[in-house]
Subunit: 255 residues, 4 copies
């Protein structure tokens, strides 16, 4: 069984599409942004990707129907004022081993050569480990020109500052070696839950970069839902704390 199995569902013709990687990562920031683009902009799936390095399992989905571990390629044509063609890479997992990460990334970029992609954007999260009031968007890129474009939109440039782990890093690195320029957007997130707010903030930056419009209402609603869920959880926790103390005092500050 080869590392990467790419099943093409549909022959498509695109004009120098931009390739956007948005596999699940920290806070699912990139994934949420790209899934929202697919829904709102009517992106069409044209390929399915499997790897024996995905977690060896299936998910139980809606009404008991099982879902494979999978990566998928979607396309969008004539987007925004520059009539851009896009290819989006989304999915419910990344490869587990370093070798799989490298091989899948290379295999997918080689598969995409036929579409003559013009550049790469990778969408990820930057975990802070503490709650974020209003998430900032950070950037890095393969070349100075891209860094300047990111700076123009007030994206904060990370410098000599750790790594970008997984697909969001490797697609830039291996892309560069194959002659492709690229940029990475990273949405600030606590990293503790699925972060629709960071995804929305990142998506808005992406609309400015690629000059297209998108209704972010549903992402906004999701962000509100998650916020309410977290607040409920915190309230329940503090009520439980009070209940365990006979006179209602919060024991956290005593014992």
């Amino acid at each position: 069984m080869k590392y990467t199995e790419i099943n093409v569902l549909k022959d498509i013709e695109l004009i120098n599409p931009i390739f956007i990687e948005a596999l699940p990562g920290l806070g699912h920031v990139g994934k949420l942004a790209a899934d929202h683009m697919i829904d709102e902009l009517g992106a069409v799936k044209f390929a399915e990707i499997y790897s024996p390095s995905f977690p060896p399992q299936v998910f139980v989905g809606d009404e008991g129907i099982i879902e494979d571990m999978i990566n998928e390629l979607y396309y969008i044509k004539d987007l925004g004022e520059d009539n851009l063609d896009l290819i989006l890479l989304v999915g419910n997992t990344q490869g587990l081993s370093p070798e799989a990460q490298y091989s899948m990334c290379k295999d997918i970029l080689e598969f995409l050569e036929q579409y003559e992609i013009s550049s790469i954007y990778t969408l990820g999260g930057l975990a802070t480990g503490h709650p974020i009031e209003s998430p900032k968007i950070y950037g890095a890129a393969t070349c100075k020109e891209n860094i300047e474009k990111l700076e123009e939109l007030d994206i904060i440039i990370r410098s000599n500052d750790g790594g970008i782990v997984g697909a969001s890093g490797l697609f830039l690195g291996i892309g560069k070696r194959m002659g492709l320029e690229g940029s990475c957007l990273m949405g600030e997130t606590s990293g503790y839950f699925i972060d629709a707010e960071a995804a929305e903030t990142m998506l808005i930056k992406l609309t400015e970069l690629l000059k297209f419009e998108i209704n972010t209402e549903k992402l906004d609603e999701k962000a509100k839902e998650i916020r309410e869920m977290l607040e409920k959880a915190q309230k329940m926790e503090s009520e439980l704390m009070n209940r365990s103390s006979p006179d209602g005092d919060d024991l956290r500050y005593i014992g």
Copy 2:
């Protein structure tokens, strides 16, 4: 050394057999059910399967004779009122790495293509982490028709509810991609010991699904044995507790 070595022991002819996967997993629920079917229904072994991804060890079996880590294929002909042919996959282990899990599953399904199997059942456990009074049977499937069949027998359908890890999940997922429909039965189990009670409950559901009869007395005895063993262990534990306190009080609530 290839991932999957399949040694055919016997040429057989079957009419669109149903394939049942019952490798060891949570509570050994599926394995116990299938081993009981093999014993009671006189299933015949026709292939042995080895993988370099099995645990690198042998077991010491009866009277010191060593036993390989192995997967085995058995068949049963003309079972029940629908005269079904069955193929059962059993064994004492699963592959250790994700790659081995995917490869073995694919290799076995490709090997089975010659028998033109009609559908797949995978038998697993669903661990709750706490003791179970009377185990329920849960289900998931590759298509709506199968879900309906499971619901008719009061099997509880999991929905948007985690994953099915290992062979029980992958045989459905990879099977679906090869054009095969399938269902997974999951017996509720604490997950802390070999669970013959969950296996018996699951086997009874399977007899209803596939319309055959089987004597479950031995499985029932095994369930009783395990129950008695657990009760003895609990009693011993509580006696030890009492003995360590000079006046017979249970110290668990003091120190």
Copy 3:
């Protein structure tokens, strides 16, 4: 780089040799016994074996000269009253991954086919986790005839009793599938240190099985050295304990 690289140093002719596996394992019981046989009986090295699954390191040996991670094959001709030929597999490591364990074992047995080996003995340890007064020797085998031979020499037969992990188990299992019979001797050991006493006891059983004589004086000395070292260590520990208490009492029973 292939899994197993076997470099033959010397062409040899042997008459249906017995193959003895004694790679390092629990308490190094098998390794110590085989290394002693090599020294005392003047065994000759005829092949070196390397694997990319050995630990990625070298040892610093005598006077700073580095030593590879290696497995080695030695032979002995015309041993004992039955004029037996032997092949011994020794080394300073085993492969790290399950796949390497299986592949190396198979590659070595296939390499040995040219010598037409008659049977396999694997020498290992059986860890108890507590100190052993006088180590017993346990056995398991691929067939009933071998079990009977072991029982005649008062070797205790393990039955339905866990596994034999690593080379000592796999050489029997894969050997059996290749048509070779074999036995495993396991020397009881605490498992906490290199156990020359268990090795000596095992070696004496092996001399009875294969009917040869060997001077075990050096192994006996090594066992004494290790015993003295352990006693010193215990004494130092208890002195340190006393010193830390101002009045010389052993604090272990107070605090």
Copy 4:
């Protein structure tokens, strides 16, 4: 994707160069020494090496430009009074798996065969786990002649003393099997931070061994910087300790 991808940037001619391995390891002792040689002696990069067993990530470098995980080969011609040619292997990572370590090491040595290298030096650290006043340099080698050369320069020879893990060990081991002699220098380091002082001490020994001169001022400055940083960190820690006690006592000796 093959294990080792070696991209040659420049055809070079060297006369029996000495090969120096200095990939990142304990305290980055070897890496700092070799990076300093490259800067000070104007070494020229002639090949880039990639592996799918590198960590699956990129670094964010100067001004947001991403940097691949990479190994690199540099050369220096006509160095010192013996007009030595050198090849240096440096990088920001080593392969993650044992198999990758072995394969990369072998692939690189086979690639280097065309340059007819005369000997191997590997530069590493020897971690003590506690602060080092003035780091000593330890050595090991593939042969007695090399050990004598190291002893002449008061390099301390390790003997029967553990292992050399990773590239610094394997290049010697595999090199020896390919007919190459080699030596390993190990700079004593706490192992807790990047150790420019150990690197400087090691570099001075290397100048004596290979008879060349080098300005170590920058390495000296780096060592001072690191020392000051550590002292600041310790001071801050002890101030924090005092502040947490209302009357300024250091609580570490009470509670």
